[in-house]
């Protein structure tokens, strides 16, 4: 069916650009490999968990950095460390890299630097969320039109 082909093409293009732009790396592909008939929504489930988790962590970081009486950099670093870990686990490469930079500013106890990093991480996170949600929407559309989702190489 033409619509399925179109959607599949869009899916492949979208997927390719996610990788090419470094928004996701091979680990995301590894996750996709784990999806099977027993858990057809595995990737969406894990990514949703990641979104929930990340938003909490980003809020923690913002709050900790706002403290007028003195920033607890250890606390900020702990949240960044967690976000770095989970983004690495799902293959969110740019978020992960932004976290790595963030950690050095935490270590240096540099509030300005940390605030800049938080902005960067938040930006990368929003970008990732947006793009992955589009990807998942395309998947749903393909399935609804009776097609199958192209498998990543």
């Amino acid at each position: 069916m033409d619509i399925v082909n179109q959607l599949q093409r869009q899916f492949i293009d979208h997927s390719t650009s996610l990788h090419r732009e470094g928004i996701v790396d091979d680990q995301f592909t590894e996750l996709q490999k784990l999806q099977d008939e027993n858990s057809p929504d595995f990737v969406v489930e894990v990514v949703s968990l990641f979104f929930e988790d990340s938003e909490k962590l980003l809020n923690n970081m913002a709050r900790a950095l706002e403290q007028a009486q003195g920033v607890d950099f250890k606390q900020v670093d702990a949240s960044v460390h967690q976000l770095k870990g989970s983004s690495s686990s799902i293959g969110a490469m740019r978020v992960k890299n932004a976290c790595i930079a963030f950690r050095s500013f935490c270590e240096a106890q540099n509030r300005e630097g940390c605030l800049r990093c938080l902005q960067k991480v938040t930006h990368e996170y929003s970008l990732l969320k947006n793009k992955l949600q589009s990807l998942f929407r395309l998947e749903q559309q393909i399935l609804a039109a009776g097609g199958s989702i192209p498998v990543a190489k």
Binding site: Q27, S39, V46, D53, G85, S86, S89
Partner: protein, 212 residues
């Protein structure tokens, strides 16, 4: 579903029961899936203390593996709040009831001194995160082939496996003496007859190969 009280023998069956420990919900979900796909039974817990509770090692007068399912492998994250994976590893290796259970450490940080101390304390292997399916499959293959070897030789074969071939460390054998007094602090009964006969646990052993 296992019948309560039934002990799962992992000898010939491929179904290993893995206890996975990680404070990250995302990572628990991923490791659980990796293990299930590799035909393992999985119990995933969020902390070292929960892991000890599950094993019955938390000082409570509980039974060994209270739900009847023997744990064949423990995979734990290194950096966790409260009890780290390293501390959990030590507690397990100092328990005569559970020290034979192989413990694999997972960490996002590839730090040689960290790797060394874990292996020194008796970790089976140190995996750098993110853990991939190929890592788990390799663990399973080693486990199964070692299980067969143990049955054939009636002896435990420890080996040091490093994730990165470039990492090397000295492999001097320093056998840890196992003293029965260590079990007292864990408040559990020792059923030595259930365990395979094995030499006192060595903190480090040179890699022993059978087939290669």
């Amino acid at each position: 579903m296992e019948v309560a009280g039934e002990v799962l023998q992992s000898g010939s069956s491929q179904e290993l029961h893995v206890l996975a420990v990680d404070d990250s919900y995302v990572d628990r979900k991923v490791i659980e899936k990796l293990l299930k796909i590799s035909s393992c039974k999985v119990t995933a817990v969020e902390s070292g203390s929960r892991a000890l509770q599950f094993l019955g090692l938390d000082g409570e007068k509980g039974s060994l593996g209270f739900n009847g399912l023997k744990v064949n492998l423990i995979m734990t994250d290194y950096s966790m709040p409260g009890m780290t994976g390293y501390e959990l590893l030590k507690k397990i290796k100092r328990s005569s009831a559970f020290r034979e259970i192989p413990v694999v450490i997972m960490s996002s940080e590839n730090i040689l001194t960290r790797i060394d101390s874990c292996l020194e304390e008796g970790a089976e292997e140190f995996l750098v995160k993110p853990v991939k399916l190929s890592d788990v499959k390799r663990l399973m293959k080693d486990r199964v082939s070692r299980g067969v070897t143990e049955e054939q030789e009636g002896r435990r074969v420890d080996k040091r496996k490093l994730e990165d071939d470039n990492l090397t460390s000295s492999s001097s054998s320093s056998p840890l003496s196992s003293s029965p007094s260590t079990t007292a602090s864990f408040g559990c009964d020792v059923s030595i007859s259930e365990l395979l006969p094995s030499p006192p646990h060595s903190s480090k052993r040179a890699k022993l190969h059978d087939a290669d």
